[in-house]
């Protein structure tokens, strides 16, 4: 099996996310044994944000890291487990709400693909960037 980073690279639709993780200096962390649960927004999700949003974050790495950490939970959690609790604490500190089981929704994002198994965790693919609050 691949690590979370390797799996994301081979999928080809997470270029913005991977760049953001790289510049925020989080690549090494996501290659560590973890395990982690990563909610991974696809490129289209970042592109849908109003102009300037991503650029401001890329120019300010601690702030970028904060938003990225909101997309990560400690531990490997599959869909069946996630839907048993209304919310889970993210590495950013704020809780991530699981709003719906069927279809599976994390906060206001739809899960395009759930339960992608990696060496060091589980990836769920999102159609939207999720934000704390």
């Amino acid at each position: 099996m691949a690590t979370i980073i390797e799996a994301a690279k081979s999928a080809g639709c997470f270029n913005t996310l991977l760049t953001a993780v790289e510049v925020a200096g989080l690549t090494a962390a996501l290659e560590s044994p973890g395990p982690f649960t990563v909610f991974a927004p696809v490129d289209d999700a970042f592109a849908a944000l109003p102009p300037g949003t991503v650029q401001t974050l890329v120019d300010n790495l601690p702030q970028l890291a904060r938003i990225l950490k909101f997309h990560v939970l400690a531990g490997a959690h599959r869909r069946e487990e996630l839907i048993t609790r209304p919310e889970w604490d993210s590495l950013e500190g704020a809780p991530v709400a699981i709003r719906r089981a069927e279809p599976f929704e994390v906060k206001n994002a739809s899960v395009l693909q759930a339960d992608i198994e990696c060496d060091n965790g589980i990836v769920h693919v999102l159609n939207r960037v999720i934000l704390p609050g």
């Binding site: 300037g52 650029q55 970028l64 709003r99």
Partner: protein, 437 residues
């Protein structure tokens, strides 16, 4: 005057997938669901709010510069008599969102203090005289308004974000301690007082951190409002929703801007709140600002007496409702109180089309402070609409979503926001008509 049309007051609902709202502000909720603002879309409303944004942006260009000057340079000066006499360095401080040097340029104009501001600072109403006389004569920008907003944020706290929590951490206290000792280096009297009353000094540093917070918040809003005025002058906005959407996009664009507090002692920079804490413009400044200043604030001294024992002031700070969205602008228009200070500041920079408008209504020039106060109220209902739409975008679903559950989630969010305007003091109903002036 252009009367609002039925269509603009009650925008058609884009979706019939869910039943109509039964909320008291259902019309406004349906308008928000159709992508509109709480403020009806009329040409006069657009003119009023853009004119006020322009008139607000010029003093705001002073407020943010002086707030940062106080937070970073004046700092704990025990006799800060000259804190409003900002240094040239801070008048020239390049705005991060205007000018050629800005990474994200919001305003097409320059990065230094606005020319109209500099002109007013030189002449005031009374004509050319030494700076100190302008200051003592109160013929100047009323920084007291900016400080009142800062104090509202400091006092209310606990409005989301992590800023206030950080002020209680050992890391913050250690940084503040370093700054206090550096600032009073070679001053045994103040260092002795610090030893005796350390918490008093800590509280002052916390207040300084809020000066920095609000300064960094307004550094963004001034170029946003200048740009909106320029777009309007060039015929660029078709209606109130356009103006609101410009604000929504702006909120997202700068959401990740760092909020920090640095202090300069000579050439030494002490990072009391380093950028690396990850605090952001949206969470640690904008949202607490809107909550503290637009909704809550506190009763102003000298306008009306409240008896707290008789329950006339809410026991819970979250229920405070003395902000601009609830203000009765007429009695508030008394000398010396913060909103009047702002109105006086804006009066100096009104675009000609608003001066003309105020002359045509009510008592003309006699009550133009009240008229512009009410226009300011309209304009802040539009800013609040932008915040509500931005939060809806960030936390809920697109307006053209086709999943009824998503539309119901949006509806609940809008209804919860409108619940705050159910209390009788709210001005949401007044701004629906044009004859509220």
């Amino acid at each position: 005057m252009t009367p609002p049309t039925a269509a603009s007051l009650e925008a058609p609902r884009r979706s019939s997938l869910i039943p109509p709202s039964q909320h008291r502000w259902a019309d406004v909720i349906h308008r928000l669901e159709a992508g509109g603002s709480m403020l009806p879309d009329t040409p006069e409303n657009l003119m009023q709010i853009i004119g006020i944004y322009k008139a607000y942006a010029v003093p705001m260009d002073f407020y943010w510069r002086d707030l940062l000057y106080i937070a970073e340079r004046v700092f704990l000066n025990p006799l800060p008599a000259f804190k409003y006499l900002i240094s040239q360095e801070y008048l020239d401080l390049p705005n991060s969102y205007a000018g050629d040097q800005s990474k994200l340029r919001i305003w097409r104009g320059g990065e230094k203090a606005h020319p109209e501001l500099l002109e007013f600072m030189a002449k005031g109403e009374a004509g050319s005289m030494p700076k100190l006389l302008h200051h003592l004569w109160h013929d100047r920008i009323n920084m007291e308004f900016a400080e009142a907003c800062m104090q509202a944020m400091l006092w209310h706290q606990g409005m989301g974000g992590r800023f206030y929590d950080y002020l209680e951490t050992p890391a913050y206290r250690a940084n503040a301690d370093r700054a206090i000792k550096a600032y009073f280096r070679g001053n045994p009297v103040m260092l002795g007082l610090y030893k005796l009353f350390p918490e008093m000094f800590m509280e002052q540093v916390k207040q300084m951190s809020y000066y920095a917070n609000l300064g960094l918040f307004w550094e963004v809003m001034a170029p946003v409002f200048f740009e909106m005025s320029d777009i309007y002058d060039a015929g660029g906005f078709q209606g109130v929703p356009d103006a609101m959407n410009f604000l929504v996009n702006g909120i997202f664009a700068v959401a990740g801007r760092p909020i920090y507090h640095h202090v300069y002692v000579g050439d030494e920079c002490i990072e009391i709140i380093p950028k690396s804490e990850g605090f952001t413009w949206l969470y640690e400044a904008a949202l607490p600002y809107v909550e503290a200043v637009f909704y809550r604030t506190a009763p102003f001294r000298g306008t009306k007496s409240y008896n707290a024992q008789a329950g006339q002031v809410p026991a819970d700070q979250a229920d405070f409702h003395y902000g601009i969205l609830y203000a009765d602008v007429f009695p508030v228009g008394s000398a010396g109180i913060p909103p009047t200070l702002l109105m006086q500041d804006m009066l100096h920079f009104l675009p000609p089309y608003l001066q003309e408008l105020y002359k045509q209504h009510r008592r003309g020039e006699e009550d133009q402070l009240v008229q512009l106060g009410i226009a300011f109220q309209r304009s802040m209902y539009n800013v609040t609409s932008a915040v509500i739409q931005a939060l809806r975008t960030a936390l809920f679903y697109p307006l053209d979503d086709t999943d009824p559950e998503h539309l119901i989630a949006n509806r609940r969010f809008f209804e919860a926001q409108m619940d705050r305007f159910l209390r009788p003091e709210a001005r949401l109903g007044d701004i629906q008509t044009q004859d509220y002036r």
